[in-house]
């Protein structure tokens, strides 16, 4: 650390203060504001008395919240792990092919990452269509199903459809991050393992997997956090229906806000926040514990 002149301190302030103030104003302060809001009684947009944890109590006793909580976890974990499985497969493949193929395929894999989840939702909703959808057509043709399925009209299938769409949207990110991880593994390690008599599977198990551990955890962490807060895909494909079957946190949050039920919204916001931070802590401790 050097002793800084006044001019240099001024430079630091000019550089850092705008971002810092912006984040303080739009994220840090609002987070405390939500926590504060959640402790009051709100009646159609007007703040009433301090009621402590009553809003949270309402949440815990609301069957809709139970359902939404379950949906969010199923959707988030389902989408993330299906995405991880496909992404790992793709990354291993792309790591094995030649440089030119890899560069081309990287572009192709990137495209689904860049398009909006709304556009992805729109086209999947169209493909899941009961009467004219290509999924029903292909599955019927290959004899996987006996009759056209009502993908978006039946609770379990609707959730599955959302999960598949989320996984599709998640695969590019996971593929690209894991591919970068695989490319960082020194080739000599594989050669050394081969000299020690390791076959293909053993190389994967004892060379690739340990070195890919951190990238995999990073992918899991980031994709879980982002899918827990997701609004776009379920809202586009099913609007949370049929019934409550695909309603997730973000959809309920929006509904409570537009219904001016601010107390409920704030308590729910805090619940989502705690869930996300909890999962972050869980992953980080799992990674930190084994990372030696």
């Amino acid at each position: 650390m050097r002793g800084y002149t006044r001019a240099r301190i001024l430079e630091i302030v000019i550089l850092v203060a705008p971002s810092l103030l912006f984040i303080l104003g739009t994220v840090i302060f609002p987070t405390f504001y939500v926590a504060h809001t959640s402790l009051f009684d709100w009646f159609y947009g007007k703040r009433g008395a301090f009621i402590g944890l009553t809003n949270y109590w309402r949440l815990l006793n609301d069957p809709e919240f139970h359902q939404v909580f379950k949906n969010t976890l199923v959707y988030s974990l389902g989408g993330t792990f299906l995405g991880l499985f496909m992404g790992l497969l793709f990354a291993l493949f792309l790591d094995g092919v030649g440089q030119r193929t890899r560069n081309l395929m990287r572009v192709i894999v990137l495209v689904p990452y860049m398009i909006s989840w709304v556009a992805a939702g729109v086209t999947f909703k169209w493909m899941f269509n009961t009467e004219t959808g290509v999924f029903n057509y292909l599955f019927l043709k290959f004899g996987l199903i006996g009759r056209p399925l009502n993908w978006l009209g039946e609770p379990r299938l609707a959730m599955l459809s959302c999960i598949v769409t989320m996984a599709w949207a998640t695969v590019p990110f996971i593929t690209l991050i894991l591919l970068a991880g695989l490319q960082n593994i020194p080739r000599e390690l594989y050669e050394a393992a081969a000299i020690d008599g390791a076959n293909g599977f053993k190389k994967f198990r004892y060379v690739t997997m340990p070195l890919l551990r951190t990238p995999i955890f990073v992918c899991l962490l980031i994709r879980t956090i982002y899918s827990l807060r997701d609004f776009d895909i379920p809202f586009t494909i099913t609007r949370g229906g049929p019934g409550l079957s695909t309603k997730v946190f973000a959809i309920l949050l929006r509904e409570k806000l537009t219904n001016l039920d601010f107390g409920y919204n704030a308590a729910l916001s805090m619940a989502l926040l705690v869930l996300v931070l909890g999962i972050t802590a869980l992953y980080t401790s799992l990674l930190g514990g084994d990372n030696t």
């Binding site: 550089l15 504001y33 909006s116 169209w126 946190f249």
Partner: protein
């Protein structure tokens, strides 16, 4: 089974080559089929759209669906709003990010680590949890249904990640070059524009594109805070189709196809920069 071994054997054994090509084709179909299907549908006539079995190729391509999206719905206004909102989000978020990241990376100060952590931690807070404060702010400052409220939201959503990505690139920037610039009488701040930025252009391109795409694609804040063509963006325009008595798939797929054009162009032109930005953003932090 390790793919590398397969790749090595492939030169000798033809069946492996077949498996390889098959798998490559699978990745292409998986990634592009849904998008291709969107474009194919958008050029079909109504009869073809609802035909069974589905028509894989378009027999007589038509622009009708595109015309309908623009004539019967205010999509031109939505595109304009999306462009304005994305442009200002990029301009402000990326400028702030470059400045802050430079400050955190090239000036060592006591509270630096803590403040940097504070900004990073804000990335973990779900935007869906902050709808209410944004609503209150919008109501107080009369920002509901304006471009401004969306721009503010997209700046805060993208800023922490941008700072994180760019700081990584700054950290790797050789300190000697800055010292040399200082000897030549160029202050550290001036060196940012004259020495550092020109060299780190690829990284800047990466955050510009990632920010643009985030703002261009965002739905939740757009749906909650805008409700007329004065401020509504493309994703909200797409969602509106589902409010109709009957979903008009042709015009909807046309509008959705249009919304993906920037993403497709950027992917093909700047794949390398985007991927390096993504990887930099995901490295453990």
């Amino acid at each position: 089974m390790n793919v590398k071994t397969i790749a090595l054997r492939l030169e000798r054994k033809l069946p492996f080559k077949f498996v390889l090509v098959f798998f490559a084709a699978f990745i292409v179909v998986w990634s592009l089929l849904p998008i291709a299907w969107m474009f194919v549908t958008s050029f079909k006539t109504e009869n073809e759209i609802y035909s069974w079995p589905p028509a894989w190729l378009v027999k007589d391509p038509t622009w009708t669906n595109y015309k309908n999206a623009f004539i019967e719905r205010p999509f031109l206004a939505y595109v304009k709003n999306s462009v304005i909102v994305s442009f200002f989000s990029v301009l402000i978020s990326c400028s702030l990010a470059v400045m802050a990241a430079y400050g955190f990376s090239k000036y060592k100060f006591r509270s630096g680590t803590f403040l940097f952590f504070l900004i990073l931690a804000s990335r973990a807070i779900p935007p869906a949890s902050l709808l209410f404060p944004f609503y209150m702010m919008g109501r107080t400052l009369h920002l509901i249904n304006t471009h401004t409220i969306l721009i503010l939201a997209y700046i805060y959503i993208t800023l922490p990640l941008n700072i994180w990505i760019i700081k990584g690139f700054f950290d790797n920037f050789p300190e000697e070059l800055l010292d040399a610039a200082e000897v030549d009488g160029c202050s550290r701040l001036r060196a940012l524009g004259k020495v550092v930025l020109p060299i780190l252009m690829p990284a800047i391109v990466a955050i510009i594109i990632i920010t643009f795409i985030t703002a261009w694609n965002e739905l939740l804040y757009a749906v909650v805070f805008t409700n007329t063509p004065d401020a509504k963006t493309i994703p909200t325009g797409l969602i509106d189709f589902f409010g109709d008595f009957q979903i008009l798939w042709g015009p909807l797929e046309a509008a959705a196809s249009l919304s993906t054009v920037p993403a497709i162009i950027f992917s093909f032109l700047f794949a390398r920069q985007i991927v390096s930005g993504l990887v930099a953003g995901a490295v453990k932090g």
